[in-house]
Structures are given as structure tokens and as C-alpha cells.
Homo-oligomer: 229 residues x 2
């Protein structure tokens, strides 16, 4: 048997960049490019070439010195490493504004994350259809998770309801959660969570704007700089 070596651990920072490389490589492939250098990929990704090479080196030595990387093969390897060789159905909890947008956003299904179901506590929302998926009651969660073999849950509820949503998802058997509610979730060990908080992102931008405008309490709306792309 071939040396099935010990499980490589890919650094978090690298894992978060692999999806970006993957998308760019896909686009290049579609344009007929079949070989690419770390320098070019770095340019497309807006990072440094050494970083690209180090990142890709964690996958194995799939480049050719003096030449570059074969696009199709690299796409295959990254997809394999990210577990994208098959679909991962997701269930969305919360059928409000955001839940609707997520369900209606085609990008999910296209990229291998079909919406297996969307649930809400509100009986008035149950039965309505959004993004081609009928809203079901949150009590149906265990059944949806089991029959559709869902591992990933998305929380799109108001903050107040988020912890309950997480508890229900975990109980139903979900092991990864993407949380859009502005709440720190409490989950059992081994459950993977990621958080996307729009207000936090805006507040980070606000910090930089505030610095730019001459510090605390600075003047508003001073001269804009025109610039070109």
C-alpha cells in the first residue's frame, strides 16, 4: 500500500484562502488557461507569490519547477482537500429577510451547498415558498437533517433566537454552523462554528474612517479624493 502518511494539518490561514484560489483557477480554466504560475495566481488573488506557493505546498508538490501549476489538476486537488467532491446540503434556520435572501441566492447551490430546507418558528411563514424551497416548521428540523443528511446549518434568526437555533441544530445532528446572528454561540466541543456579523464589519470600517478623518470627533465629509481604478 502506498504510504498513507499521517494526516496533514493545513493551517487555518491557508484553509481560508484555498476557496479563493479555487474560484480564480476555475475562472482561468474557463478562459482556456491550463497552466499558471504562483506569481500570476497571486496577482489575481491580491496576495504575495510566496504565500501562494507556501499555501499550495501544504496540498503536496503539485507544481512543476520552471513551468507552474496545471490549472485543472490544482482545481481537482483543492476541491478534494476542501471536501468539495460532493455536495453538502445545508439547512437554514430563520425565514426573515436574510434567510429569504440566502435561500434565493443561487450561489449556494451552484457552489455545492444546496438548500435542503429552511425552517422558522413563525406559523405564518410556514408553507410559503422562498427561493424554490418551502418553509417548514422548526420542529421538523430533526427530520430534515436526517433524511437529507445535512451536516451544515445556517442561522439567520434575530439574535434573541440564535442560541435556541444552535441548540436545535446540534440536537438534530448538525456538526457545523454558519452564524449570521450577532451573538456568541455556546456549542458543545467538536461543533465547528463560523460567524458573519455585518455590524462588526461596518464598525471595523468605521474605525478606519474615523482615523482617516483626523481622529476622534473629527470633521465630517471633508474633501473626497477622486481616483481611478
Amino acid at each position: 500500500m502506498a504510504p498513507e502518511r499521517t494526516r496533514r494539518r493545513i493551517p487555518d490561514a491557508t484553509v481560508s484562502r484555498l476557496p479563493v484560489y479555487l474560484r480564480l483557477l476555475g475562472e482561468q480554466g474557463d478562459e482556456g488557461v491550463d497552466s499558471i504560475s504562483s506569481e500570476r495566481l497571486a496577482e489575481l488573488a491580491g496576495v504575495n507569490a510566496a504565500k501562494v506557493r507556501k499555501d499550495l505546498s501544504y496540498l503536496g508538490s503539485y507544481g512543476t519547477r520552471g513551468v507552474g501549476y496545471e490549472v485543472a489538476y490544482l482545481v481537482y486537488q483543492i476541491r478534494r482537500e476542501l471536501g468539495l467532491t460532493h455536495d453538502w446540503p445545508v439547512v437554514i434556520v430563520g425565514a426573515g429577510n436574510l434567510g429569504q435572501a440566502l435561500a434565493g441566492y443561487g450561489g449556494f447551490g451552484e457552489r455545492g451547498f444546496p438548500v435542503a430546507g429552511i425552517v422558522d418558528v413563525d406559523d405564518n411563514k410556514v408553507g410559503t415558498v422562498m427561493g424554490g424551497v418551502r418553509v417548514r416548521h422548526i420542529d421538523d428540523l430533526p427530520q430534515i437533517v436526517q433524511t437529507k443528511r445535512v451536516n451544515i446549518g445556517v442561522i439567520a434568526t434575530p439574535g434573541m433566537a440564535a442560541q435556541d437555533a444552535a441548540d436545535r441544530l446540534v440536537k438534530a445532528g448538525v456538526t457545523s454552523i454558519l452564524n449570521f446572528a450577532p451573538v456568541v454561540l455556546n456549542v458543545p466541543h467538536g461543533i465547528e462554528t463560523r460567524k458573519v456579523d455585518l455590524a462588526v464589519e461596518l464598525q471595523i470600517l468605521s474605525y478606519h474612517e474615523q482615523r482617516r478623518s483626523g481622529g476622534v470627533g473629527g470633521a465630517v465629509g471633508s474633501g473626497p479624493r477622486s481616483a481611478t481604478a
Copy 2:
């Protein structure tokens, strides 16, 4: 005069946590808590107490040894540092699923980021109302940005349109951009951008799920090529 010293630079990692502390402190304040220890705040934020103390130390020495931090004062200081002493109106480019959800999401305005306008290229969408804001044509962007003194733009367009949206925002005078499109934006130096990419988040979760379920499937080195991104 008090030593208004050279501009403190707060580490990025800290800046990204301050909004979280701020929200938690606000909640504690609402519940009548007026003093809090780093340990308690750390527990609420799901981080280590030393990290909280180090983070807060970048704001200055606003705690009291043996006692803790006065909630109201800390809220004030964090808000000041993040530039949240006044509102930052934002303009949203793209009135599709996501743009609608963002405009309709009350959380923006509540947290100091009122939607000053939402624009789209599609004449069919112009004139419709979403989240209390009338959709205007993207050509009106410069006017909206100037009259409403907008510094922050939000891109909620499809990927194809995102770079053009960024160019227009920058030209109109916006200096910070929150980008929801799965695209690496090219912007002039000095323009701050942040990216939120749902597919990337899901793919990171997929990576962890894939490892959990016994890792990369089977033998290495069978090299089939799968297409698509």
C-alpha cells in the same frame, strides 16, 4: 495641554474584537450591571481574559485594579475609538436578493449605519421601495454620496458587476467598501475594503466536515479531472 500623543495604532485583531465587546457591554449595561471584570467579559465573548485585558489596554488604562471596568465608561471609550460617536450613512449598490435583505435589515440603522440610498443598474428595479428606501439609478450615486455625506459603500451585486460598482463608488468619493461579491476588488491605495464571502465560509466548514468524516477519500493520486468552480 494633555499629551495628545502620536496616533495609537490598535492591532487589527483587536479592532475586530472591540465591536463584540461593545455589544456585550451594552447588553450588560441594559441589565443594570455597571462594573465588569475582564474574566466575566471574556466569558461572554468566548475568549481568554488576558486577551480582553490586552485589547482594552490599547484604549488606555480605563480599568480599576482590584475592581474591574466601569461598563458605561468603557462603552463610551470603545465607541469613541471605533468612530461610533456619530452615524455613518451607507449606500448599497445592487438591489437584488441580498441588497434587499440588507436594506430591510433594521440592524444597520440601529447600529449607527443608516441606509442613505440603494442603487441598481436595472431600470425595472429603480423606483421600487425596499426597506423604506426607494431604489435609485446607479448614475445617481455621486449625488447621493455627496448630499448624504456617505463614506461607506456596500457592494451587493453579482460578481460580474462588482468591480464596476467599486470603481463607481470610489469615483463618487466613498473611501470604505464592504464587498459581498465573490471577487477580489481592485481599488486605489488608501481605500479600505472588507470582504464577506458566504461561499468561502461554507467551504471552510466543508473542509472541517471532510476531515471529520475520515479525511480525503481513499487512495491518493488517481487523477480524474473534474470541471467547474
